[in-house]
């Protein structure tokens, strides 16, 4: 296959950046999207040009490092697939493909297609955990958990923190990411003691980081490579309402 790529090039955070066109001939349909970029980069290096910087690591769809907006879709056209697992057979010969970084104030561009997603870590640090210092744990079987709850918690916990939800959201909101963690922990008995302080802390951190608000559009969920369901946001909202109205944090309530 012969393709034309239009890639966002930006030398650093201060640079304005622009789309640059690169023809890429001889692409095998068996290549992954990132392997196609590898091929382009090797050619650029030999031609004395700067290769395109992009984040990637595990290349098996689980680390969440890859973060490409491909033809205006987070992780490209295939549903439930990260860019690293997207293969070139999804495209056709002669196609022009636009590749851009995630766009969000909370995810500033570092270089080319690489963005800084530290805001997600901050949201987790603001409450996305169960306080259980090492060594303090009771016997694992002392608290049974209904299978449905454990399964639903897992579905939410499958989030890989890639940021596709933010990239796809017309509001630039990170609510699906936040809600996935809130949902996982609020479904489990271990997460109950901090349930309400958690949701307030995480939502505050989310807003502080400069993400937009959620208007329940659902674009996040359809772009999510792990299919995190939209109803996690309802769970977050419910916990948030309870936390703010019933003074859930007051002793004895």
């Amino acid at each position: 296959m012969n393709l034309t790529l239009r890639i966002w090039r930006q030398t650093g955070p201060e640079d304005k950046g622009r789309m640059v066109t690169y023809p890429v001939p001889d692409v095998s349909p068996d290549m992954s999207f990132l392997e196609m970029l590898d091929v382009l980069n090797e050619r650029l290096i030999l031609d004395g040009e700067e290769p395109v910087a992009f984040d990637h690591d595990c290349r098996e769809g689980i680390c969440g490092a890859c973060s490409l907006m491909i033809n205006g879709e987070a992780h490209g056209p295939q549903r439930g697939t990260t860019a690293c697992q997207l293969h070139m057979r999804q495209f056709s010969d002669g196609e022009t493909i636009d590749i851009e970084p995630w766009r969000a104030r909370a995810f500033p561009v570092v270089k080319d297609l690489v963005v800084n997603r530290n805001a997600f870590d901050k949201i987790i640090a603001a409450g996305g955990y169960v306080t259980a210092p090492t060594g303090s744990a009771p016997e694992a079987h002392s608290t049974p958990v209904a299978k449905e709850d454990a399964d639903a918690a897992f579905s939410a916990a499958a989030c890989i923190g890639c940021g596709a939800c933010v990239a796809a959201c017309p509001n630039g909101s990170g609510m699906l990411f936040t809600a996935a963690k809130v949902t996982q922990l609020s479904l489990l008995p271990q997460g109950q003691p901090e349930r309400y302080t958690r949701v307030i802390g995480m939502v505050d951190a989310h807003d502080e980081a400069g993400f937009g608000g959620c208007t329940n559009i659902g674009e996040c969920s359809s772009a999510c490579p792990k299919g995190i369901p939209l109803n996690t946001i309802g769970r977050l909202n419910r916990d948030y309402l309870k936390a703010t109205t019933k003074r859930a944090g007051t002793p004895g309530s």
Binding site: G72, G172, N216, S222, P229, N237, R238
Partner: protein, 210 residues
């Protein structure tokens, strides 16, 4: 957003039911319109209730717009650099027309008040005869009024479809099954409300109400 939206939705339901009284005849409809002004008497002086309701609705509308503006401003700030290539939203038309839809509805509401409440833009504009005002308004030769009214109501329908679902969600609807129900309920509600509002002008247009 959800709370103010719900207030407005409650008003829309009552308003629609009131409108439908047009099918019970001129006397009945006019009586209803006048009764609204007497509501709350003798506890409250005449039209006080109406003004209280108007005040509440105005506050709700302003709060609704305020919240929407905050969200829109935040959304704009959250993405300072736009995508060069942006795909249309996968999910639904209703969700992505909320903001412009809201503006259209606001413009319509202003027109609508000037038309059928104050009567300034009404061809008859007789405060004593609301029934006549409505009939004059949607007369066949004024088809463009009906068209505008229809467009506005359809926009309202879309707005309600996503708005109602979104309100459920914002107030904590959280199960996948509930989500399906909430979406279905929102759709049915939007369609019923649209139909309820549209049936009046079309009844006038077709001569069913004269």
């Amino acid at each position: 957003m959800a709370v103010t939206g719900i207030l407005l939705v409650l008003f829309l339901i009552v308003h629609m039911l009131g409108n439908l009284k047009i099918f019970t005849g001129e006397t009945s409809f006019d009586h209803y319109a006048h009764w609204l002004r007497d509501l709350g008497t003798p506890l409250l002086p005449t039209t006080w209730y109406l003004w209280i309701q108007r005040a509440v609705l105005t506050v709700a509308v302003l709060a609704h717009i305020g919240a929407a503006t905050v969200l829109a401003v935040r959304a704009r700030a959250a993405r300072p650099v736009a995508y060069a290539h942006r795909r249309k939203i996968h999910v639904n038309y209703a969700a992505r027309t909320m903001r412009w839809g809201g503006v259209i509805i606001l413009l319509f509401v202003i027109y609508h008040i000037l038309d059928l409440t104050t009567g300034h833009l009404n061809p008859q504009g007789d405060a004593a005869n609301p029934y006549g005002n409505v009939v004059a308004d949607f007369a066949p030769e004024r088809w463009y009024v009906t068209l505008f009214y229809t467009l506005a109501i359809v926009t309202l329908g879309f707005h309600l479809r996503h708005g109602a679902f979104s309100a459920f969600r914002s107030l904590g609807q959280q199960t996948p099954k509930g989500e399906r129900r909430a979406r279905a309920a929102a759709l049915v509600f939007a369609v019923v409300l649209c139909a309820g509002y549209l049936v009046v002008p079309f009844a006038v247009l077709t001569g069913l109400v004269a």
